[in-house]
C-alpha cells in the first residue's frame, strides 16, 4: 500500500477535524465515487474501535428522540458524538425525505457533535450501503461514540447487526402479544431492549414479556439482553439506557467477545465487497462478452437452466484468473 506513509490530503483534513472534508467524503462513499477509496484505505488504520451503538425498531417508536437525549447527556460529560440517521428511499423515484434532523436539538456552535442523514438508496436491512464505511470514517475523525439510527424497521431488518457493537431494539407498549417476541429476527439481535413511552398503559406487560423472552434465551453467549423503560417526553430512563449500553460495551471487553465480534463483522464485510465486485463484473460481462451472451441466450431459450449456467460461469471465471 502506497498510502501508508503519505496520507491523501482529504484524509489528513478529516483527521485534523475538518468537518467539510468529512461531509464530502461521506457523500463520495454514498455515491460510490472512486475518490473515496484512497481516503477509506488511509483512514482504516486510524480507527480506534469506538462504540457504535445501533438503534433499531419499528417506525414511530422514538428512536430519534432517544438519540437526541443521549447525545445531550454525553455532551454534558464532554464526550463527542456522531449520528448517522438512515431513512428510506422511494423504490419508485429514488427520492427521500430525511426527517430525523428535526428531532435533533440544534447545537449550532458545538463541534463535538456531527449529524448526518442518509437515504437507504435501495439497500434492504434498515441501513444504507454506505453506513458501515461512514461509521468507520467518523471513528477515525475522532468521535468518542457513534450512533446509528436505522430505517423504521420490520421484523427482518437486522443489517445493523453487521455494523454496531451494541444493538438497542426500541419498542413501545401494545405492539402485539407475547407471541410476537417468539418470532425470529428483530428480537434476536438485541443487546438492550428499550421499551419507550413507558408512560403509556401496557408498558409493564411489554417489559414482562421481554423479560420472559430473555430468560428463555439459550445461555452461552454470556450476555442476557437488558430491558430498560424510557420516556422522551418526561424524560425518564435515559441514564439507565446509557448505563445498559455501557455495560454491554464493557462486557465486550471483559469477555473478549469484542474482537471475536469484530472478526466476524470484518469477514462479512470482505466477503460482501468481493461479492459486489464479482457480481458487477459478471453482470457486465453477461451483456457484453459474446460467449457469455450466448450462455444467457440459451437460458432464455430454455435450452439451459440457470443453475447449470451459473456453474459454467463460475468455472469460466476461475479459468480466466
Amino acid at each position: 500500500m502506497t498510502g501508508a506513509r503519505r496520507l491523501p490530503s482529504v484524509a489528513r483534513a478529516i483527521l485534523a477535524g475538518d468537518r467539510r472534508a468529512l461531509a464530502r467524503t461521506i457523500t463520495a462513499i454514498e455515491n460510490g465515487d472512486p475518490l473515496a477509496v484512497p481516503v477509506l484505505k488511509a483512514l482504516y488504520p486510524r480507527t480506534r474501535r469506538v462504540p457504535v451503538v445501533g438503534f433499531t425498531g419499528p417506525l414511530g417508536v422514538g428512536k430519534s428522540s432517544l438519540i437526541n437525549l443521549l447525545v445531550a447527556r454525553l455532551r454534558e460529560r464532554g464526550r463527542t458524538v456522531a449520528v448517522i440517521a438512515v431513512d428510506p428511499s422511494s423504490p419508485f423515484t429514488g427520492g427521500s425525505v430525511l426527517g430525523d434532523r428535526i428531532r435533533f436539538e440544534r447545537r449550532a456552535n458545538d463541534t463535538g457533535v456531527f449529524f448526518r442523514s442518509m437515504a437507504s438508496r435501495g439497500a434492504s436491512g434498515g441501513v444504507a450501503a454506505a453506513t458501515l464505511e461512514t461509521s468507520r470514517v467518523l471513528d477515525s475523525a475522532g468521535f468518542d461514540v457513534i450512533f446509528i439510527e436505522t430505517v423504521g424497521s420490520g421484523q427482518v431488518d437486522v443489517a445493523i447487526r453487521e455494523i454496531a457493537t451494541t444493538r438497542v431494539v426500541v419498542l413501545v407498549p401494545h405492539l402485539g402479544d407475547e407471541v410476537q417476541t417468539l418470532k425470529a429476527g428483530l428480537f434476536e439481535i438485541a443487546d438492550v431492549f428499550c421499551v419507550n413511552k413507558v408512560d403509556l398503559p401496557g408498558a409493564e406487560t411489554a417489559k414482562k414479556d421481554l423479560a420472559e423472552l430473555v430468560s428463555l434465551a439459550p445461555a452461552g453467549g454470556g450476555w442476557a439482553p437488558t430491558i430498560v423503560g424510557t420516556s422522551t417526553t418526561v424524560p425518564s430512563g435515559i441514564e439507565e439506557l446509557w448505563t445498559a449500553v455501557e455495560a454491554h460495551e464493557s462486557f465486550l471487553d471483559s469477555s473478549g467477545t469484542r474482537s471475536a465480534g469484530e472478526r466476524h463483522r470484518l469477514a462479512a464485510e470482505i466477503v460482501g465487497l468481493v461479492r459486489d465486485r464479482i457480481g458487477r463484473d459478471l453482470t457486465d460481462r453477461l451483456e457484453k462478452d459474446p460467449a457469455l451472451r450466448r450462455l444467457l441466450d440459451q437460458v432464455v431459450a430454455r435450452s439451459l437452466d440457470p443453475r447449470t449456467a451459473a456453474d459454467r460461469l463460475r468455472a469460466g471465471a476461475r479459468r480466466a484468473r
Partner: protein, 140 residues
C-alpha cells in the same frame, strides 16, 4: 464530481429545506419537500425555527447541493441575507432559493444579494422542482 467506472447512473440531488426564524407555518415547506422527493431528490427536512447558523451548519454536515428556505413571518430581509453571508464566510457555494410572502421590492434585493430563485404564493410545484433541478446541476 468525477464519475468512476462503477459509479451508479445518477447520484441524487441533496437539498436542505428549512424554515428560518419564528414562523410556525410549515405546510408550504412540507409540500415542497414532498414534491422534491417525488422528483427523486434526497430532501433533508430541517423543520421549524432554525437560526441561520443552524441552517448553514446543517447544510455543511449534510453536504447538500441546494438550500431552500421557506419564510412567511416577514423577517426575510434579516434572515436570508444572514444565511448567504455565513455561506460566504465558510467559502461554500451552495445555491439558495426561497419561498414565502416576499414583496417584489424585497425579492429584487434578495436576488441582488445572491438568492437564486424566489417563489411566492401561486408558484406551481412543477416550476419549483424544475428550478431546483437546474440550480443543483449548475452548482455541481
Amino acid at each position: 464530481m468525477t464519475k468512476g467506472e462503477h459509479a451508479p447512473k445518477a447520484t441524487p440531488i441533496r437539498v436542505l429545506i428549512a424554515k428560518p426564524g419564528l414562523d410556525g407555518h410549515d405546510r408550504g415547506a412540507k409540500v415542497v419537500a414532498r414534491a422534491l422527493r417525488d422528483a427523486g431528490m434526497e430532501v433533508i427536512y430541517a423543520g421549524l425555527r432554525q437560526t441561520p447558523d443552524e441552517i448553514v451548519r446543517a447544510s455543511l454536515e449534510e453536504d447538500v447541493d441546494l438550500i431552500g428556505l421557506s419564510i412567511l413571518s416577514g423577517a426575510h430581509m434579516a434572515l436570508i441575507p444572514r444565511v448567504l453571508t455565513l455561506l460566504k464566510k465558510h467559502k461554500v457555494h451552495i445555491p439558495v432559493f426561497a419561498g414565502g410572502i416576499i414583496p417584489d421590492e424585497d425579492a429584487r434585493r434578495l436576488r441582488a444579494a445572491g438568492v437564486r430563485a424566489i417563489f411566492g404564493p401561486g408558484a406551481s410545484l412543477e416550476e419549483i422542482v424544475s428550478t431546483a433541478q437546474k440550480l443543483a446541476r449548475s452548482a455541481a
